[in-house]
Amino acid sequence: MGAQAVVNFITALIAGVPKVIEAIKAGRDPKDIKLGDFVSHDALDRVKRANQKADDYIDNG
């Protein structure tokens, strides 16, 4: 395994470490934490919730 590959891998994962720690603290089994937990799923969830909020306001006032 090349040194550069290790650097790349660690660089790419470092930003995701807090999310993994948070997930473990929340009681999730580390084996269940997927690769996708490192990426922008939170942002997508937040956008979906905001869109639902907008739709609810339009529908119900």
Binding site: D42, V47, A54
Partner: protein, 150 residues
């Protein structure tokens, strides 16, 4: 934000070499995560502001109807475009993450992704880099619009 600026600088360099593309793709996954979070925060705030504005404007008037509220909100499909764009970005990020893990430690790649591991020498890092760049280019106008609203 600094990481995003770094990534943008990287993206200004054509992915002409495998090593450049691999480095750029890995760092861009990290930077685009931060940018996506910023984009989501901006969108949440904007929607809240628009709901408050329209409530104040229409409340108690005969225009406080579903059609009236929809016209007032005027989100023009931006929310749906953000969802589609973020889904594409996540797919591109995930492809890079899997490729990086396949390259560095294929034995620990989760079973659901293992079939995506290919011989490291055959990984098309330029294609992965370009897919990330393309996904971000779709979102960038909304990111810039969010910045202008602040």
């Amino acid at each position: 934000m600094k990481r995003f600026i770094i990534a943008l600088t990287l993206l200004s360099i054509p992915a002409s070499g495998c090593a450049v593309a691999k480095n750029g793709a890995a760092q861009f996954v990290v930077a685009s995560d931060a940018a996506a979070d910023e984009l989501a925060a901006g969108w949440e705030g904007y929607v809240d502001d628009e709901i408050a504005r329209c409530s104040n404007l229409l409340g108690g008037t005969d225009k406080d109807t579903k059609d009236g509220r929809k016209e007032c909100m005027g989100l023009a499909g931006e929310g749906e475009a953000l969802e589609v764009g973020l889904e594409a970005l996540i797919a591109a990020q995930l492809a890079v993450k899997i490729a990086v893990e396949c390259d560095s430690n294929p034995l620990k790649v989760p079973a659901e992704f293992k079939e995506q591991c290919v011989d490291g020498a055959k990984t098309d890092w330029v294609a992965l880099f370009n897919s990330l760049k393309s996904a971000w280019e779709t979102l960038k106008p909304y990111y810039n619009a969010m910045k202008e609203r602040k």
